[in-house]
């Protein structure tokens, strides 16, 4: 058993890591680190954890961590992991925050409003979009786990971009997320009375996941890509769907696209391409590490529409982080993640 520390113990990312690692045969949690609740036990904040997680939370001692555990998951707000990871020399680090996702510290500063991580750290970190970068991940020590919208969007777009089927300037992404994506902090955006029975766009033109998606599209296409993405808050707790609209470069058969997508992901158990003319629903992946994808060609307009659904806390955060830990350690990629979605 490898030993795990989770930094940022009281957020939803940490809680979901704990839920998922409960069924993992090669990883055990031995440290939960929380600055704000040091000395407390998690079940005081989260009664659902009663009878699990007997250890109290600890203050972070970054210098000891290298000796004490094998893997550190950072489930921390922006700006935390970039300070601490440089002090870790030997443990594997998986960063669920956005600190290491953008290649350039300047771009980070523009979208996150604070100084970026050191360039050397950015260069070392491998982007953990597991299905696409598994080879580099297999030898990485530091993994930058993708954002939730980038996970759904990039998995939805990669087959088409890889095969050069779409006009890169045409990409529109309409994102819809459950409220858990906003974390546990209380805000007007998370107030039940104002979020229930409501749909609203947020961070229009300003969402920090925009440059992340563009960066990896650009890398795959070898040509600068820009997207037009609007994210919406939807009255549900978990679940995220990106509906992606693109123009095809030339006319193709619907069955051709469908087969191309199916083939692209045939050895990747966590991406399920739906039968032709079927579309995913977020509830059909709830609680699981799946990304379900449906594709549609509008023959009247020559457009390709892609719907991509994930559980934002699993494939969009904690689940993919564990998937990356599996890859980085040479284990079966499905270890600990063979969960059937909870339906209904």
């Amino acid at each position: 058993m490898k030993q795990v520390a989770i930094v940022g113990g009281t957020g939803y990312g940490a809680i979901e890591l704990i839920r998922l690692l409960q069924g993992h045969s090669k990883l055990e949690i031995t440290k939960i680190i929380s600055h704000s609740q040091e000395g407390q036990r998690l079940e005081e904040t989260y009664p659902h954890l009663k009878s699990f997680v007997p250890i109290p939370m600890e203050e972070l001692n970054i210098h000891a961590l290298d000796q004490e555990v094998d893997i550190v998951f950072f489930a921390t707000p922006p700006g935390v992991s970039k300070q601490y990871i440089p002090h870790l020399q030997s443990v594997q680090c998986i960063d669920l925050s956005g600190d290491l996702r953008l290649d350039s510290p300047e771009t980070y500063e523009m979208w996150y409003g604070q100084e970026g991580a050191p360039k050397s750290l950015l260069d070392e970190a491998v982007y953990g979009l597991s299905e696409i970068y598994s080879e580099k991940l297999s030898t990485a020590r530091i993994c930058s786990n993708p954002g939730c919208f980038p996970t759904a969007s990039l998995l939805g777009l990669m087959p088409a971009v890889h095969h050069d089927l779409i006009d890169l300037s045409s990409i529109v992404i309409d994102g819809k997320t459950g409220v858990s994506g906003a974390g546990r902090k209380q805000s007007a955006m998370t107030h039940f009375s104002e979020t229930n029975e409501n749909v609203k766009p947020y961070k229009v033109g300003k969402h920090q996941h925009i440059p992340e998606i563009e960066q990896y599209l650009t890398r795959e296409a070898d040509q600068q890509a820009y997207i037009n993405m609007t994210t919406h808050l939807i009255p549900m707790t978990r679940g995220l769907m990106c509906t992606i609209y693109t123009h095809l470069k030339s006319s193709v058969e619907p069955s051709y696209i469908h087969e191309l997508y199916s083939n692209f992901y045939q050895n990747h158990p966590f991406v399920r391409v739906r039968p032709q003319d079927h579309f995913p629903a977020t509830k059909e992946v709830t609680g699981s590490n799946f990304c379900d994808i449906g594709v549609h060609i509008n023959e009247r307009t020559g457009q390709l529409t892609i719907a991509s659904a994930i559980d934002n806390l699993v494939k969009g955060a904690a689940g993919q982080a564990i998937q990356n830990a599996n890859i980085m350690n040479g284990w079966n990629v499905e270890e600990g993640l063979q969960l059937i979605p909870m339906f209904p």
Copy 2:
């Protein structure tokens, strides 16, 4: 007081007409017609109506209707109103169904899967997008009330199309609707356990509102328009948002667009253009006849994004129908509709 008959008395459209007409000073309901529940009182099906609507429902006698009332609202499924309206010679008819919305019977047949209305009837009916066609509506006898997605989409697009600002081939509409849009019939789509905590696309590439939107965009632009629209079911009862993505023909200032939208609707009390960089939320129009609109220019990509929110049962159905009745009778357009949205 003019006398009103509602045909299709037990659907949500009729129920909402009844709710709204309760506060109308010039219209009173004297007939509620339901084939399936003739002789019953509405409160047997809808206990919330107890102490309102004392009259029992009746079987439809189309030939008598002309003498008995002044206005007939058809809140009926597809295929009903097109049969009956030709028999009405003198009453005003407002059709909430899709039967009279498409100019060509052939297009109707393609999207609705049944024979279209007689061409002469289609030619006589005036499309009831109140803010845009008020002049023609003021002399109309037959009004074809718009669909819910077309109402939000067209009100969102009209200022930009009217001023020739956008590339017509670039229009993407991502629609999100509450479940009441699917009506009262029970189906897998309306099952609480499977719809709650879920987002799913439906009728992809097949939604009958697509040709309706295209027809009126084409008319306004004087050039064939095609749209790429995907509609999604969202876990809420009421509310509909269309997020619309377009390419600008040339670069413009955000403040210019915002002012242009504000001016376009300045004499139209039911369209509220939000302050620059503010966006609507469906809950902020719930229960009211407002269409709230926000616009955003993505300066990195030259795209114009429009968010347009309505209550699908009010501005998207019964409210706009009453607005049209007001216009057709020369009354204050706000009569009976001065309701503050119910928030939260």
Copy 3:
């Protein structure tokens, strides 16, 4: 038109007063008072109010208020109105907070955790359970508007207590409320992600509505009454149901009880007793001032169960406050409140 001031302008109680007064023919809002947002307009906080409420919010000047308006509604947190009402000599005051509801300052202090109002003020205020105390209200200047659970519970119990049918020591009240009852303040209790798909009891044994219910039951029965009430938070925004369980003193026919309830409320348009063996649902009163009641006799055990449903923000707060203003001014009790519930 009488002129109205609302104190506590940015809470849900005030917002609902504004929504309802929009349709009132004898009252107009001329002052909205908010300490925290003085100088701002309400639509900055509540965009749904755009195009309504043109006046900016003001700081409270309690000494001027007596001259400036005719009626003051206090929609304030506990502890505010008891300080200010003593300074008002001539205007009518309707207090939506709990400050004036308990006869004894000591009891108030025990349940609210702060000093009670002066006894003279408590003696002058009339409890605004409109259907029961309309006679005293018709000559009152100061009205203490009831809490939401007391409104539903007392209207459900009064006919049985009045006719001495039930064992007072047997009363169990199981309360279920939507989240809007907790107000706009952000708290763990109102966080969407943790409240959605959840039911939880709260303030068990400590809810400040317990002594309020007991006081008015005791007054009606002329004998000390104690209740056992547990309140639950339910994943919905509006709506409140009290399910009330009691032992009958002696065996009676179900039809007798039903008739007794129907007769008790026959001249009270806002209480709708459902047909025998029918029960109310909160959605059937949403947005309206109705209290819907169903009664059931368990013939196996001699128990009477009563279900009583209201919209917590209307009959449980702002609606009943306006109903009381109507009574205090000798107007039709339904003035401004003839709204059909919004369904679905």
Copy 4:
């Protein structure tokens, strides 16, 4: 590995059995039986199961079943299992329906409206309230799995009844259930638009779980028990809470009751008694086999209130069924069920 057949393959009970058995190390599903969908694969109805459950559904051949599998779970509507179980001689049978729960065929007929099972079958079946009847279950071949309300209610009441602390004639149970309890069949009760933002009592005085609860209370107390239970439909998918109100026979300290409950369940990992003055929430058990219990003594009235929360599809159905299979086979009672609740 023992081989499992599930009869009634397309209901929520079966789907949840499949989800949970995915992680069971001693049971594998080899047969899924569905009369209505014979020949189809489950993922056609339930796309979330894609890549799981490769076997097609089969028609029931009751005579072959005895040879083909080791355990049969009946997740069938009322009236099915009672016909088939008599034909099974050697396999273990676990019946999730209500067919074998009531001792007397006459009582069954009165509440279920159809003929009861043969008395000999009723006599052989052991009631599967795992924590209470584990000894008898350990040698049983036929298990009658409890209903959802009885599971929560009986686990909540048993410690107090066992220790003779409460007046049996005083028991009031207020039940609140998510909509999944109504199954997959479409009905007015499960329609999203009418169930969302709504609370309603249902089957008042007629719920078939009433005699089930009374039977086992009577058995434990050795004296006839009657309860007064009202069940409510709540706008959530999963989760069930029973709030139970009782009169204590004599005055006791809150800490005494709390300790008594904690001790009663100390060797039962699936019942978690909350710390004194803490209460459970349904979301804190979602997806897990836990029953969380909180107790409160109202010292003013001498009443004991108990809140008991389960996931209706897990501890209230499929989870407890697997727990019973574990007991019947002498395995660790937690096998396959060590799931942390999914929160948020």
